[in-house]
């Protein structure tokens, strides 16, 4: 359809700049007639492509230096359009352009994998297979997010499967084992979502060691798939932010904000300026508490508990500030589609300023001392190295990618809320080791304080919520936020009263896939900190299994114990 030059001309008007124009032209060259449509809405360019040309298209563009694989959303649109859809959401960082490749997938059509090109694509494909039954060729398909004993042909996010049916059809094998092995006749079933949390932790690493060196690592995760995307399909638009906020106990506001931004993007809702400012203010407060929390935990893992205590002492002031601004220390509960539900009072403004002044002083003093402690520095330097090339190939995000020399930060690249009103630096270190990732966060705390000072000074007056807004079905929206751990991106396809499809991608999903690379060759004692260096949403009771290749022994130990082994060094 776009094969002849005449038809190609519209690309000029659709592109946002030279980078997107170059990429669009390349796609037009290789896919020609397979391009069904090209449109642009704001910063989002959408190309609809026949499934047959997807592989060729991705092969053509994967090596573009500023292209970033952000998320892949599958959606069951058989009822509306007779097909499944795949939405590849890519980002052209240098231009701040969203590039959405939309691929209609008729039933039984198989898609050729992209996981060898965009390595981040691996989990996304497995997930689309698990949840929708979409098949990918040229790779092994295994279970990712669903449990091993989940029924073979039951794909829970398909529209023809209801939550009630899921509860009926999936009975964890654990239950039948209890029935037969123990001979009990009746088992009381407590349904907790469509998944059972039989395994103790949401994250699990197997470290293969020779002596004290890690030679390989395997990650097993997705043990508490909660089925919230399905759940949201039966909740009203303004109820979902509260569910979204509960995705993470540390940085929940990034999720509620991403969700409302995605809906606003889909429905072209203009959010009042003051609401945009309040969102940015609360997002930065969240980053401050999260980074200080991480810093404390990292120091604890390094055996420097004094530092841990002081990090958390300072953090406490931010928690109080968060409550003052929102009504709650965590799960702030103020994000709604079209604005925020709580205003900042005038006397709160002066309290915010006071807190920031104190924070700046105390934090500078603390961090100066903590990062100079010899054993802290020694154990961070040169460990857990993530080369720049790998960071790029895996489309990593947040302090993890910025510690490996890439300045990716969606606050700057795909700006949102009130970030375009303030000036700030994006700290980047090139060493790619644990120290680099630590220093990125250390510096970011200063940047956040400065951003907050600017926002508070410039806070415009006016309404904090749009007067009204209307839904329109089957609109696509993207919302992304630079969370403390990296980009959170939500994709929404709108429905009448609820999201028709809501796809959440948290930063740890992207970054975890690179942890085995960081772990190769590190001392066992440095493994816990290396894992923690991406700041995954970890629980303090997490366990690691150590398999010793020489003796063949297997033991499961608390993660802290391994880390403490290294405290004598340095």
């Amino acid at each position: 359809m776009f094969s002849d030059l005449e038809r190609l001309r519209p690309m000029d008007s659709i592109a946002r700049g030279p980078r997107s124009l170059a990429i669009l032209n390349k796609l037009a060259d290789v896919c020609g007639d397979s391009i069904l449509d090209v449109t642009r809405d704001g910063i989002t360019i959408r190309i609809t492509l026949k499934a047959g040309c997807l592989r060729k298209a991705l092969e053509t563009i994967y090596s573009e230096h500023d292209l970033y694989f952000r998320t892949l959303t599958a959606s069951d649109e058989r009822r509306e359009e007779g097909v499944y859809k795949l939405y590849y959401v890519l980002g052209i960082d240098s231009e701040g352009t969203n590039l959405v490749i939309e691929v209609p997938v008729p039933e039984a059509v198989e898609i050729y994998t992209a996981s060898d090109l965009f390595r981040a694509s691996d989990w996304y494909e497995l997930e689309a297979h698990d949840l929708f039954g979409i098949r990918f060729n040229g790779r092994t398909l295994r279970r990712l997010v669903l449990p091993e004993d989940w029924p073979e042909d039951l794909h829970p996010l398909r529209k023809d499967v209801s939550v009630e049916e899921l509860r009926e059809l999936y009975q964890p094998q654990m239950i039948s084992r209890v029935v037969t092995e123990l001979g009990v006749e009746e088992v009381v079933r407590i349904p907790i979502g469509p998944y059972h949390p039989a395994l103790h932790e949401p994250e699990y690493f197997e470290l293969y060691v020779r002596g004290e060196k890690v030679v390989d690592a395997r990650y097993i995760g997705f043990m508490v798939h909660r089925g919230i995307e399905k759940l949201a399909e039966s909740m009203k638009y303004d109820q979902v932010p509260f569910l979204a906020e509960r995705i993470c106990g540390i940085c929940g506001f990034v999720h509620s904000t991403s969700y409302v931004q995605a809906v606003e993007d889909a429905l072209n809702i203009e959010v009042p300026e003051r609401a945009e400012f309040i969102r940015s203010i609360v997002l930065e407060v969240e980053r401050l508490h999260s980074h200080l929390l991480w810093l404390g935990v990292a120091l604890h893992l390094l055996g420097y508990d004094t530092g841990f205590m002081h990090a958390w002492r300072i953090r406490e002031k931010i928690m109080v500030l968060a409550e003052l601004l929102t009504g709650s220390r965590k799960t702030y509960g103020i994000a709604l589609v079209g604005g925020v539900k709580k205003d900042i009072a005038q006397d709160t403004v002066s309290k915010v300023k006071e807190t920031l002044d104190r924070l700046k002083r105390e934090y500078r003093e603390f961090v100066d001392v903590a990062t100079s402690v010899p054993q802290v520095r020694a154990r961070l330097t040169g460990t857990g190295i993530l080369p720049r090339g790998e960071a790029r190939a895996y489309s990593l995000v947040g302090p993890t990618v910025r510690g490996s020399g890439l300045a990716r930060d969606v606050r700057k690249d795909y700006t949102y809320a009130a970030y375009h009103y303030v000036s700030f630096n994006v700290p980047v270190y090139t060493e790619g080791d644990n120290l680099a990732r630590t220093l990125v966060r250390v510096d970011e705390v200063f940047e956040s304080i400065s951003i907050l000072e600017q926002l508070i000074d410039m806070l415009p007056s006016g309404p904090i919520m749009v007067e009204s807004w209307e839904t329109q079905p089957m609109k696509l929206g993207i919302g992304s936020v630079e969370a403390p751990r990296g980009e959170v991106i939500h994709v929404v396809v709108t429905g009448h009263y609820s999201p028709y499809r809501w796809r959440v991608r948290a930063p740890t999903y992207q970054n975890l896939q690179a942890v085995p690379i960081m772990l190769k060759g590190v001392d066992l004692a440095d493994a816990p900190l290396t894992i923690a260096s991406i700041d995954p949403c970890f629980s303090c009771t997490d366990r690691a299994t150590i398999i010793n290749l020489r003796s063949g022994s297997v033991k499961t130990v608390p993660i802290e114990i391994i880390s403490r082994r290294g405290s004598g060094r340095g």
């Binding site: 409550e323 009504g327 509960g333 903590a370």
Partner: protein, 172 residues
């Protein structure tokens, strides 16, 4: 390099950071969102709070002569949405958070309303107070014949009316 010893001076200056709660008052700011309180005098049983409550902590229960608005604190996430949407300003967000109790019933709160029964099918479907409130708001608008008919029967009536081409409302 004994810079790290400076932390001792900081510790001495800051002293104890933790509060001796519960012997000392806990730190709750004026903005804190705790459990909600429903004023039975103001509530008309419209159900707006029930429809927005994200975890279904609020429910409307239709019993033969009563419509009961139930609040189960055990499910409440203290989001304040109910107070945000209530058209009667009947809900206040309190600062109460010490809600643990060995008595399950302590976690329930109720507002009991007198029900209006449908004059066609006989099922309770709304509250007397809500009907009054609506009457007050539409101020003389001629809606009254349908006030006592539940939405389901109303739909059927309308369909029949349109079907037979009869105008005006007749309710047997």
């Amino acid at each position: 390099m004994v810079k790290f010893l400076r932390m001792l001076a900081i510790s001495a200056r800051e002293g104890t950071a933790t509060r001796k709660y519960p012997f000392e008052s806990s730190l709750v700011t004026p903005e804190f969102r705790g459990r909600v309180d429903i004023d039975p005098a103001k509530c008309v049983g419209c159900g707006a709070c029930v429809r927005i409550c994200p975890p279904s902590a609020l429910t409307l229960n239709y019993e033969s002569d009563e419509v009961v608005l139930k609040y189960f604190i055990g499910r409440c996430i203290f989001c304040g949405m109910c107070a945000y949407v209530c058209p009667q300003d009947a809900i206040t967000i309190t600062k109460e958070f010490e809600l643990a109790t060995p008595e399950l019933n302590d976690l329930y709160d109720e507002v009991v309303h007198t029900a209006v029964k449908c004059n066609v099918c006989g099922k309770p479907f709304t509250t007397v107070k809500l009907v009054k409130e609506v009457e007050k708001r539409i101020d003389g608008g001629d809606m009254s014949p349908l006030f006592n008919t539940c939405p389901e029967c109303r739909r059927k009536l309308t369909a029949r009316r349109v079907g037979s081409g009869v105008t005006g409302v007749s309710v047997e």
